[in-house]
Structure formats: structure tokens, C-alpha cells
């Protein structure tokens, strides 16, 4: 094997450990072994900065980095965002008993693990080995960086012949590449041949993936269940199993499978997000809440950060928020407001997101029984919506629901009218629209306008004419408003102008109401009053 110091001397190296002694020890050890350029980082954030600004050949990270992200997350992010090349070697240092030390996704596995505590002898031996292997795999990894998959396959076949001892490692890359090229039959044959010799966990998962892609769901499920019995910590099997349940339209099992996976590996953001979405769809808000809470926390400083996490978290908290002011409700609402605020701050440039966050904020106030706040925030959302170019059907629907929740039926009706004209609603949006419509039947609106009418009459009788007019305006805004309400509204305005002074605007408003009412028949109980009001209106017009 090649000499380690020759291999290390020209390499740009990053060492990541949360403990200061371990960091300097690692740097020292690497220097003794021949390294010249070693950067050190103390946590995920610092490591990400270094990785973003440098082109590393070798990264050595402790798995457990204290409170922040762990080594696996750093690796996944760096590979996911292509900030490190396939030719870069990533070595993970692990303490043996870390119960939540699990393998990441196939493509995000480190090149090697070294178990702590280790002596310099062990480090020398392992680094020499892995760097030698990595060098032999260099052409393949370079092709990987170019995403030149055909070349990868050709090079794999050559290397298996030239270096039989690397057969398994190369076959693993080959299988992965065949999957990416959608050559599932070929990949399946490869995995089967490997499995005949030895049941290697990645080959089992590879086989299950092929069967899944070939839509042989029961067979895939069988392989996965077998793999999980043998390797209970191989969490990616749960992910695929969950997808099979989804294909079978068994959402509950899909959710439970992901719960098992998150119990083994709680720090994987994408899985927590998927679990949250499934649980939310299943209306299992307790599970959704904890999954989204975890997603928000884990993704906060990572490339997986998404506004959806914050918004879904706030939404999944609503089930415990009520006007009762109990502790659950207090905590729930304060967490929801916090999530909404964070989303608004982080994504302030994006009006769509701010709108969505504002909608949830209003709903939270409604659930707390704070009607005035809910309404004020709903109006903010309404304002935001006017700034959105081509708002989606979903946005309009959520606006309608919030307006209805804050008793602004007239405005809701306007948007519903726009929604009716849309031709681009998805099936679920159309269902939602029908549901919303059914909830606000004409009867409900009439009851509501009658209620406002009663309040307005009370104001009128106390001589609070302006308040009465405002309330009648609200009631008559509904096209369903009855004749009595319209006559009352006319009376309030006419009386106001008689007692104070007439105005063009109000006269026009009265005209519009009279037109809307049409001619009342003589036998109508409101006929006399209507006639008198018409005359007063005519007189007022002459005065002005």
C-alpha cells in the first residue's frame, strides 16, 4: 500500500469535533501522519461554512457533535447539495454505544467508520486503506461528479476484473447507478447474485427497491420485513415500506412504519417531514405536531429548511388551542404564533408564504376565541392577497375560510364568486369549495343578517345612528339580505340625513337600496313605511 504521508501531504482536510481537546488532538494526529492543511470545525454550522468555502479532499467528523447537527447530517447535506465531490473522502468517528447512531441513506454513507477511542496506529492503518481504495475508485467518482452514468457502469465492470478484492464496493456503486438509470431488471439480477453469496443489508435494500420500482409490492415488502428482522436499525427499509403502504392506500400503516423509523433515527429531517405530512393527512395531530416540531428544529440551520415545516407545525398545533385558556391551549398558541412569526421573518420576501402564515395566525386567534384579533389579522391576509399575482385556488379557499371564521361573509362571498369562475381547481380544491359552500347555506346567512339587523335596530332605537348604519351596511352587503333588512337600512340612512345633513354619497346609497328592493306591493306590511321613505328621499334630494 502507498505511504500515508505521501497521500496526505497535498490534501485539504477538515476535522470536525465538538470537544476542543479532541479537535486539537485530531489535528495533531493528522499532522504527525503527514497532513499539512487541516481546518478544524466545532459544530455543524462551522463545518458547513468551511465546506461551502473550500474544496476538501478529506473530511473526518465525529458522529456525535453535542446539541446541533450530527456528523451524518453534515455528510448528507454536503453530498445532497454537491458541496463536496464524490472524490472527497468522508470518515466518521463513532462512539460504540450511541444508540441513535444509524446509517443514513445509501448514497450518503461515509467512506469509512472509525470507532473511538482509537490509537494513532489504528488511524494510520484505516486512513491508508480508505485513501488507497478511494484512489482506485477515483475515475468512477469523477464520472459520478459529471453524472456520466454510462461511464460509471463501464468503469465498474473494469475495476471488478482488475481488483477482485474491491468487488463488493464496486458492485454497490454499480447497483446504485443501475437504479438511477431505471435499469431495474438488471439491478435486480445484480443484487440477487450478491445475495446468493451473502445477505448484505444494502443488497437486500437494493433488491427491495428494484421490486418496488417493478411494482412487485408484496415481494418487495417481504424482502424488507426480512431485512428489518435481521437488521432492525436499517431505517431506510422503513421508508420504502411506508411507500408500499401508500401504494396500497393504507395511510395508517404508512404512518406507523415511519414512526418506527423515527424511533430508531430521530434526527433525519426529511423522514420527520414525511411523517408529519402523513399524520396530518390522517388527522393524527399529536403525531403530526411532534414530527413537525422536530422538523423545524432539525432543519432550522440546514439546507432542508422549508416554510412548510413552520406552517404545518403551526397548523398541527391548532387541535389543542381553545378559548378555555388552559395550559395546553396557552402553550399551543404561543408555539403556533412563534412558528408563524419565524416563518414570516425568514420568508419575508415571499408574499405567498407570508399570506399563508397570516392565515394560520388568524385561525389561531379564532380558536383562542379572540374574535377581534382574528378579524384584524384576517384583514391583513386579505390585503396581502391583493399583492399576490394570480393567487392560487388554494390561497383563495383559505382566505374564504378565514373570512367566514371571522364573520365576514360578504367578503367571503366575493372570493367564492371568483373561485366559481376558476377552471384550474384541482379535484381536492373543488371538493373543499363544495364543502365550504355547504357550510354557508343561505339559511345561515339569513340568520346572520337577521342577527345584525336586530343589533342595528337596537342602536337605531338608542339614537346611535352611525353605528346602526354601519351594521345595516354589513347586513345588506349580503345578496341574501331580506326586504325588512333593506327597508331598515334605508330608514337609518334617511333618518340620519334628516337629523344631520344630507350627502350625495348617502343619497346614492339609498337610491341603490331602493332599486334593489324594487316596488313593494300595497298589501306588504312594510308598504307604508317604504312609500314614506321614498318621499323623504325625494325631498332630501331637493334640499341638497
Amino acid at each position: 500500500m502507498a505511504d500515508l504521508s505521501t497521500m496526505l501531504v497535498n490534501k485539504r482536510i477538515l476535522a470536525i469535533d465538538d470537544l476542543v481537546e479532541s479537535r486539537s488532538a485530531m489535528k495533531k494526529m493528522l499532522t504527525i501522519l503527514g497532513a499539512e492543511t487541516v481546518d478544524v470545525a466545532m459544530d455543524g454550522d462551522e463545518a458547513s461554512d468551511y465546506i461551502l468555502n473550500n474544496d476538501y479532499d478529506l473530511i473526518i467528523s465525529d458522529y456525535n457533535l453535542g446539541r446541533g447537527r450530527d456528523g451524518q447530517q453534515i455528510l448528507e447535506e454536503a453530498r445532497f447539495t454537491h458541496q463536496i465531490k464524490a472524490t472527497c473522502t468522508f470518515v466518521m468517528l463513532t462512539g460504540e454505544n450511541a444508540m441513535d447512531m444509524v446509517m443514513g441513506a445509501i448514497e450518503y454513507e461515509p467512506d469509512d467508520y472509525i470507532t473511538k477511542p482509537f490509537t494513532i496506529d489504528v488511524m494510520r492503518q484505516r486512513l491508508t486503506r480508505i485513501l488507497t481504495i478511494k484512489e482506485m475508485l477515483r475515475p468512477i467518482n469523477e464520472a459520478m461528479d459529471r453524472q456520466d452514468r454510462k461511464t460509471i457502469l463501464a468503469l465498474c465492470d473494469q475495476l471488478i476484473l482488475a481488483q477482485p478484492r474491491l468487488k463488493r464496493r464496486v458492485e454497490r456503486i454499480k447497483g446504485r447507478t443501475l437504479l438511477k438509470l431505471n435499469k431495474f431488471e438488471e439491478a435486480l439480477a445484480l443484487y440477487d447474485s450478491i445475495l446468493q453469496e451473502r445477505e448484505i443489508n444494502w443488497a437486500l435494500l437494493g433488491k427491495a427497491t428494484c421490486l418496488f420500482k417493478l411494482e412487485q409490492y408484496p415481494q418487495s415488502e417481504k424482502v424488507l420485513n426480512h431485512t428489518l428482522r435481521e437488521h432492525p436499525k436499517y431505517v431506510q427499509c422503513y421508508d420504502l415500506l411506508s411507500k408500499i403502504h401508500l401504494k396500497n392506500k393504507d395511510l395508517k400503516s404508512a404512518q406507523n412504519t415511519l414512526i418506527s423509523a423515527t424511533n430508531v433515527s430521530p434526527k433525519q429531517v426529511l423522514r420527520q417531514m414525511e411523517l408529519g405530512r402523513l399524520a396530518y393527512a390522517n388527522k393524527d395531530f399529536t403525531v403530526a405536531e411532534s414530527a413537525f416540531k422536530m422538523s423545524v428544529k432539525l432543519a432550522r440551520h440546514s439546507c432542508y429548511r422549508s416554510v412548510k415545516n413552520y406552517l404545518f407545525f403551526a397548523k398541527s398545533l391548532q387541535h389543542k388551542i381553545s378559548p378555555s385558556n388552559n395550559r395546553d391551549s396557552r402553550n399551543g398558541s404561543s408555539e403556533a404564533f412563534k412558528a408563524v412569526e419565524e416563518a414570516k421573518t425568514l420568508y419575508k420576501e415571499n408574499t405567498d408564504y407570508v399570506f399563508e402564515a397570516t392565515i394560520i395566525e388568524s385561525t389561531t386567534f379564532t380558536n383562542l376565541g379572540k374574535e377581534a384579533d382574528a378579524k384584524a389579522v384576517a384583514n391583513k391576509a386579505e390585503e396581502l392577497l391583493t399583492h399576490v399575482n394570480n393567487p392560487s385556488g388554494a390561497m383563495q379557499l383559505s382566505m374564504v375560510n378565514v373570512l367566514l371564521d371571522t364573520n365576514q361573509h360578504a367578503k367571503a362571498q366575493d372570493i367564492l364568486a371568483q373561485l366559481d369562475k376558476r377552471k384550474d381547481l384541482s379535484r381536492s380544491e373543488t371538493r373543499e369549495l363544495t364543502r365550504t359552500r355547504n357550510e354557508i347555506s343561505e339559511q345561515v346567512v339569513r340568520e346572520y343578517t337577521t342577527e345584525i339587523n336586530d343589533k342595528a335596530i337596537a342602536c337605531f332605537e338608542r339614537g346611535q345612528l352611525q353605528q346602526a348604519i354601519d351594521l345595516f351596511d354589513q347586513a345588506t352587503a349580503y345578496k341574501e339580505a331580506g326586504h325588512t333588512v333593506i327597508v331598515n337600512a334605508i330608514q337609518a340612512k334617511v333618518t340620519f340625513m334628516e337629523q344631520r345633513e344630507p350627502s350625495h354619497r348617502m343619497l346614492q346609497e339609498v337610491d341603490a337600496l331602493l332599486l334593489r328592493l324594487g316596488d313593494l306591493p300595497a298589501h306588504d306590511e312594510r308598504y307604508e313605511r317604504w312609500l314614506q321613505l321614498k318621499q323623504t328621499q325625494t325631498r332630501l334630494k331637493r334640499v341638497i
Binding site: M1, A25, E96, T115, K116, F118, D121, R198
Partner: protein, 216 residues
């Protein structure tokens, strides 16, 4: 809420491991700085010897905790035997001046749980050393079905009749019982297609003991 001793224990162990790692590293520094200062060398050697034993004992303890855990699964991965073996034989050479003759392809690699094999090898060497062996010969044999074995021969007195008769199991009751128990558990944990690992002990016709660690 019930007190979670396991989490506590695991946190403590994590700490101890980090401390051990730091200690090993400070030693390396010291050794570096003391090059040429002969009068300190003897003490330094002793410190290094003790800390290596301590380090090994820690790994052994962790493995015992690991094996006794109900959900224990060996993590069999592909390793190069020479990488596992070299640090161990260096240590025994430094501590006890034991010598090793390696008679196998340096590129030999296989699937095994590296930590478990380390435990097994360590115990084999400690036991042999206690019996008085100094020179070791290590061979590897590969089988057509993918299985393989490591054969370790030494120049010690060999096993007595009773031990040979009862096989490895007989050794559980001896002073070094824990070690042999661990070797057996470590090797038996390796499984493949309904087969499991085993150990076999015998004496060489000329002299010394021969231990075979057989992997499926």
C-alpha cells in the same frame, strides 16, 4: 418518570471514551516532545503501556455491554484483516515483546464485526501470553462457499487433555474464563445463510496451541 439508567450510563461512557481519546493524544504529544530525552523514556513507555491496556479494557467493557444487550446485532462489514490485526500486534509487541509471523495475503478482506474480532484476537493473545507463548503464526484459509478462518498457532505449552476434550466450552471456568467466553460470543455472533461462527482449539503436533476462529 422512571430513572433512565441506560441513558445516564451511555452518557458517562461517552465521556470516558472522549477522555480516553484525549489521554491517548496527549501521550502522543508527549512522546513527540520527549524524543531524545532518554531519561524520561522508561516512564513514558510505562504510561503508554498502561494506557493502552486501559484503552483495551474500556473497549472490552463496551463490548460486554453491547453483547449482553438484548437487541444486539453484530455490525458485519467488509474489512481488511491486516488493518484489524496490525494495531493489535503492534501493541503486544510493545507490551510483551511478542512476535508475529503473518502468513496470508495482505489484501485479504472479509465481512466481520471489527470490534468483536478485536476482542477475540486480544483474548487469544492474552491467554497465550499468560500460558507463556511468545511467538505466533497467523494464517488465513478461505473456503469455496465464502467462509474463512484465522488460525493462530503459538509456541506455548498448548492446551491440556481436559481442555481439548471439552473444547472451548471447558475454558469458561478457568481464570481467564471471561476472555474465552468473549471470544466465543464474538465469533458465534457472526452468521450467514443459517451458518454461524465457531472456535476450535487443538495442539500442534510439534509444540504449542492452535486456535481457529471460523467465520461462516
Amino acid at each position: 418518570m422512571a430513572f433512565d439508567f441506560e441513558t445516564l450510563l451511555s452518557a458517562e461512557l461517552h465521556d470516558i471514551k472522549n477522555q480516553m481519546q484525549a489521554l491517548l493524544s496527549v501521550q502522543e504529544d508527549l512522546a513527540d516532545e520527549l524524543v531524545g530525552h532518554e531519561r524520561y523514556q522508561e516512564s513514558l513507555d510505562k504510561i503508554q503501556q498502561h494506557s493502552q491496556v486501559l484503552n483495551y479494557k474500556l473497549i472490552e467493557m463496551l463490548s460486554i455491554l453491547k453483547i449482553q444487550h438484548q437487541s444486539f446485532e453484530p455490525s458485519e462489514d467488509e474489512h481488511w484483516l491486516i488493518d484489524t490485526l496490525n494495531p493489535i500486534i503492534h501493541e503486544f509487541y510493545n507490551l510483551h515483546a511478542m512476535t508475529f509471523e503473518l502468513d496470508f495475503d495482505e489484501e485479504f478482506n472479509a465481512f466481520y464485526d471489527e470490534q468483536l474480532l478485536e476482542i477475540a484476537l486480544h483474548n487469544v493473545f492474552v491467554n497465550a501470553n499468560q500460558a507463556g507463548a511468545q511467538v505466533f503464526k497467523i494464517k488465513v484459509e478461505e473456503f469455496a462457499d465464502g467462509g474463512w478462518l484465522i488460525r493462530i498457532e503459538d509456541d506455548g505449552p498448548g492446551f491440556n487433555e481436559e481442555q481439548l476434550e471439552k473444547g472451548a466450552f471447558s475454558l469458561h471456568g478457568t481464570k481467564s474464563g471471561l476472555g474465552l467466553y468473549l471470544i466465543e460470543q464474538a465469533i458465534k455472533a457472526h452468521k450467514r445463510n443459517d451458518k454461524m461462527g465457531s472456535i476450535r482449539i487443538q495442539n500442534n503436533p510439534k509444540q504449542g496451541a492452535c486456535v481457529q476462529l471460523i467465520f461462516p
